[in-house]
């Protein structure tokens, strides 16, 4: 007999509120409806009431995990309006922070994913690796989250001794190659819970307009870092990672290989950090009349910003579309026909970030 029940908004698997209404026939999910909006904060409106410096602090709080992406994308938008070109060193530092952030976000996700399939020892391994990334971010920016690195015109903090971070990168590469990747791709327990689970094929991926690792795991080779390179990605020779299978395993593998690529780029950027100033401007920014649309690749996919200025002390409009906002609805397509017990790992495989979806 078919029955339906609500899962959430207080979630058994994730720490953030969103609700999935599932229709089941026995053990199998017939259909699902996703509802978001439980932690709406009205950041877009607030941004119209804060001056250009304050907005960066505010926007950084859109997401607790990819905080840098948001502050950085907003700054790039403001710089585009004002026609400011940031110094090369600042671009490199922004790239390093963005990639470190991707590492910590993907590692966090891998840990939560391991936890969701009941693999606690793998969760501990992943999180001890993630701690290395957090220490690096703290050493560079002074904070474990909300790094406060960006300002309009460049970055606020320098990386004075880049070579210092290389041993930690080595330890990370080793941990990824010897523990995380083999466990996820070879361990029978992990494979049993991920292979063939939560399929989203190429056509569905296009229909649901998914972005980021979810799209790349369904065979869509889209990545802003490659399609519309910004910052130092051209110099660093970024290569995207694509898988065709479209199941949870493919999403794991895409993220794992992306971490390897991020590590390579961080190492290269640290070793080739150009000399020069950190900021192109002095003092408080003045943004002329204009508008800009900027896309960057956040850890979860394309982050989209539209910023308009009327020349005043505050932005006239800040429109934010976050990657999870398009990825989360695709859960509806992924869970259909799947066992109920796989619901939690399928949801987690999208890496849903409610904080930024609700902003």
């Amino acid at each position: 007999m078919p029955y339906s029940f609500p899962l959430g908004p207080y979630h058994p698997a994730l720490e953030e509120p969103f609700k999935v209404k599932v229709q089941c026939r026995g053990e199998v999910i017939d259909s699902a409806t996703v509802e978001v909006g439980f932690s709406f904060r009205g950041i877009e409106l607030l941004a119209q009431k804060r001056n250009w410096v304050e907005v960066i602090t505010l926007i950084e709080r859109v997401c607790g995990i990819c905080s840098n992406t948001h502050a950085m994308t907003f700054c790039i938008a403001a710089e585009t309006i004002a026609g400011i070109e940031i110094p090369k060193r600042a671009a490199h530092i922004r790239t390093i922070i963005a990639e470190l952030e991707r590492l910590h976000s993907h590692l966090l996700w891998a840990g939560v994913g391991a936890e969701d399939i009941g693999f606690h020892s793998l969760f501990m391994e992943v999180f001890s690796l993630r701690e290395l990334v957090m220490d690096m971010l703290e050493a560079i920016s002074g904070n474990r989250v909300n790094y406060g690195m960006n300002c309009i015109g460049g970055v606020l903090r320098d990386i004075p001794d880049p070579a210092r971070y290389l041993p930690a990168l080595d330890a990370l590469s080793k941990g990824l190659a010897e523990i995380v990747i083999p466990t996820f791709t070879e361990n029978p327990t992990a494979l049993a819970r991920t292979r063939g689970v939560g399929r989203l094929n190429r056509e569905q991926a296009v229909d649901w307009a998914v972005v980021g690792p979810v799209a790349r795991a369904s065979g869509l080779d889209i990545d802003v870092r490659k399609d519309q390179p910004y910052l130092s990605y051209t110099d660093l020779g970024f290569r995207s990672v694509v898988r065709e299978e479209g199941d949870v395993l493919a999403r794991v593998v895409v993220r794992a290989l992306e971490m390897v690529e991020s590590l390579r780029m961080i190492r290269e950027a640290l070793l080739s950090l150009p000399a020069g100033p950190l900021r192109a401007t002095e003092g408080l920014p003045e943004i002329p009349v204009g508008e800009a649309t900027i896309r960057t690749e956040a850890p979860r996919g394309e982050a989209f910003y539209y910023v308009a200025s009327e020349g005043g002390a505050t932005p006239a409009r800040v429109k934010i579309r976050t990657p999870s906002f398009v990825n989360i609805p695709a859960i509806e397509a992924m869970v259909t026909g799947q066992p109920l017990a796989d619901l939690s790992i399928i949801q987690a495989s999208v890496d849903p970030c409610i904080s930024c979806t609700d902003r």
Partner: protein, 176 residues
């Protein structure tokens, strides 16, 4: 077999849980407890301007003093106030910030009173510039050190005038 190796390896290795003494170094850029030096503050308001959560505010006792207020419950430790203060009156130090009970009420509040001084020329109450700034602008001896912003502007234009019209220098002197 692999499991045995792991178990043996784990027995021989020290604990991976960090003990309190084994902390990562506090980075020099760490943004901890906030400190304000009233002697350097000119009550210019830049810190309040850049503070997104409005943790910094000012109150006035007209003619006597300006007070700088900070409430930790609203601070997000972004460090922008310290970075933008023109006289480096604010610093975020390595110490752990004081505790806070709620964003609305309890928690550390700092208050610094910046006393106004009468202008040595016209008597108007104003915030004196920090010594270091004045030393750069006028050296240590100058009479202008005690001037209010209006009289400083007057003095600057008088200097300019005397540079262009040497005879006017005398006049300026008589005027005082």
């Amino acid at each position: 077999m692999a499991m045995l190796k792991t178990i043996l390896g784990n027995l021989l290795r020290p604990s991976r849980t960090r003990d309190p003494a084994d902390m990562p170094d506090v980075p020099p850029v760490y943004r901890g407890a906030l400190a304000h030096d009233a002697a350097r503050c000119t009550a210019c308001g830049t810190c309040a301007f850049v503070c997104a959560p409005k943790a910094i505010s000012f109150t006035q006792d007209p003619g006597v003093s300006v007070s700088w207020h900070f409430f930790i419950g609203q601070c997000s430790f972004c460090g922008l106030c310290a970075q933008n203060c023109p006289t480096q009156a604010i610093s975020l130090n390595a110490d752990v910030p004081a505790g806070m009970d709620s964003a609305a009420g309890d928690g550390l509040r700092l208050e610094s009173v910046v006393h106004l001084q009468p202008c040595t020329r016209c008597g108007a109450a104003h915030v004196p510039l920090p010594d270091a700034t004045m030393a750069v602008l006028w050296g240590t001896e100058e009479a202008e050190r005690g001037y209010c912003p209006d009289c400083r502007r007057w003095a600057a234009s008088a200097r300019l005038r005397s540079a262009f019209v040497p005879a006017a220098a005398e006049e300026v002197h008589h005027e005082r």
